[in-house]
């Protein structure tokens, strides 16, 4: 019993320490952001654009089919629950589930699976091969060149992907509703517009931005934590993915809970 308590306590302390690392990375990057925007260094901009391309544009071919499939699933379940002829409620539930919750969350999960491990692996490899040291020798802070553009790039990509996800889900939902239950577009659109409030859009945007920062910071922190052995690289990649998943789900719960309070 004591050994179990000790093991649990040690695990919790490691988890807490890793989360404070993530918070430190985020705060440090946000502190550097105004200077980076003002200085407009071309190499930093290139890293940012590459990150947006790899995380955002290349994920689009996964996000769109998943979102359309999800839209069809949700609409089918909703119609089964409330019946045909209740278009406003159908649209409202679709918007509430997709825009407020599933859009940001599933987009974040796709990005974690696709880019999270890649970021941690890349930075871990750079650490092993002394490339981070090479940057410091050139007088280039690794935080400015490696972490900040990745953090902003992943956040930008997730924000954009979330928008596409929600559009795809609504479009997929309408396609099924129109084909299966002959739902008129005007009534469906009216229901969507009615349900699409500023608070729903704000929640979606807030969650996508927070998830983007958490995912990139967790994976960057793990990549930088690699020591001198190449075997630490896959371990860091795995930890980056797991911590990202944990933070995204906890973050989602916190934001949703706070929104419910206010």
């Amino acid at each position: 019993m004591i050994a179990f308590a000790h093991a649990l306590g040690s695990w919790l302390m490691r988890l807490l320490r890793s989360q404070t690392d993530v918070l430190r990375v985020i705060l440090d990057a946000l502190g550097r952001l105004p200077g980076a925007v003002r200085e407009r260094r071309p190499p930093v901009r290139q890293v940012y654009l590459k990150q947006v391309y790899f995380t955002g544009l290349e994920s689009l071919k996964i996000v769109l089919p998943v979102s359309m499939a999800l839209g069809t699933i949700i609409i089918t379940q909703i119609v089964g629950l409330v019946g045909v002829g209740n278009e406003s409620l159908t649209a409202k539930v679709l918007v509430w589930t997709v825009v407020r919750e599933l859009g940001p969350l599933l987009t974040a999960l796709i990005v974690i699976a696709r880019s999270g491990a890649a970021i941690a692996t890349e930075l871990g490899s750079m650490k092993i091969n002394r490339e981070i040291e090479a940057l410091e020798m050139l007088g280039i802070p690794p935080e400015n060149y490696l972490i900040l553009p990745r953090l902003v790039g992943v956040t930008t990509a997730i924000f954009a992907l979330t928008v596409y996800f929600e559009i795809g889900a609504v479009a997929g939902g309408f396609a099924v509703a129109s084909l299966a239950w002959h739902l008129p577009f005007e009534q469906f659109a009216q229901g969507i517009y009615t349900a699409l409030t500023f608070s729903a859009l704000f929640m979606s945007a807030l969650k996508s931005v927070v998830f983007g920062m958490l995912i990139s910071a967790a994976c960057c922190a793990q990549g930088f934590s690699v020591g001198e052995s190449a075997t630490e690289i896959p371990q860091a990649a795995t930890r980056g993915v797991m911590y990202s998943l944990f933070l995204v789900v906890i973050g989602d719960g916190c934001i949703t809970g706070l929104a419910a309070l206010f």
């Binding site: 200085e39 260094r41 071309p42 190499p43 930093v44 890349e122 490899s125 750079m126 091969n129 002394r130 490339e131 040291e133 090479a134 940057l135 410091e136 020798m137 050139l138 007088g139 280039i140 802070p141 060149y145």
Partner: protein, 221 residues
């Protein structure tokens, strides 16, 4: 008023190694510092650049002691140093051209190097590969060529080379030495410091001030 110095080191100690002698590099000088081993050369370069803190002793760069210096100020000093290292030195996910111009583009030094200037620097050091070759595919000699070409483009005040010709053929090493010596002649305020464990290296640089930095690996594990 004493003449300005670019670098002064004295009595440095790091875990498992010591460099016990004094070295002073002033503008316009050419130095060869001989050390007992390659590991000490790499350790000394790290100390000079402030990547490691010594257990004892002091490194002074551009009349500024490194001890207690802020990260920002340290980065500013490193911008004035061109380093050529034994291992690493380039980013594998960048092309040769991107590695070549990374420091110049990042630090916004006057006008960015033109394509002709970059290609001329690569030609001077004997680089025969493609400018858009991924850096991860370069040989050791090519990596050193790109690092030296980068030094020529960034025009630092102090150039420090760690075992410049180690592991490469003489036909690859000679253009590197010639390019760096030409650089020093064209920029009289700059200085060159070669760290080497090769006893015959100094003979290739007539006119260089040679110093033996005695030291060694200590058994203080």
């Amino acid at each position: 008023m004493s003449a300005p110095t670019l670098l002064t080191i004295e009595g440095l100690g790091v875990p498992h190694a010591t460099v016990t002698d004094r070295l002073r590099v002033a503008p316009g000088e050419l130095h060869v510092a001989r050390l007992p081993g390659d590991d000490l050369c790499a350790a000394l370069l790290h100390l000079i650049l402030g990547l490691r803190s010594p257990l004892h002793g002091e490194v002074t760069l551009f009349d500024t002691p490194l001890h207690g210096l802020s990260v920002r100020r340290l980065m500013e000093l490193r911008c004035r140093i061109g380093a050529v290292v034994q291992r690493g030195g380039l980013l594998a996910n960048l092309k040769v051209w991107e590695n070549l111009t990374l420091a110049s583009d990042y630090h916004h030094r006057s006008a960015p190097p033109t394509v002709d200037e970059g290609l001329a620097a690569l030609a001077r050091v004997g680089y025969g590969g493609a400018p858009m070759e991924p850096s991860g595919r370069l040989s050791l000699a090519q990596r050193k060529q790109v690092m030296v070409a980068r030094v020529l483009l960034t025009a630092p005040d102090l150039v420090v080379c760690d075992s410049l010709t180690a592991g490469i053929s003489q036909s690859d090493g000679e253009p590197l030495l010639a390019a760096l010596l030409d650089y020093r002649r064209s920029r009289p305020s700059s200085a060159l410091l070669f760290l080497t464990a090769d006893p015959s290296f100094a003979a290739r640089l007539p006119g260089a001030t040679v110093c033996e930095l005695c030291g060694g690996m200590t058994d203080d594990r």
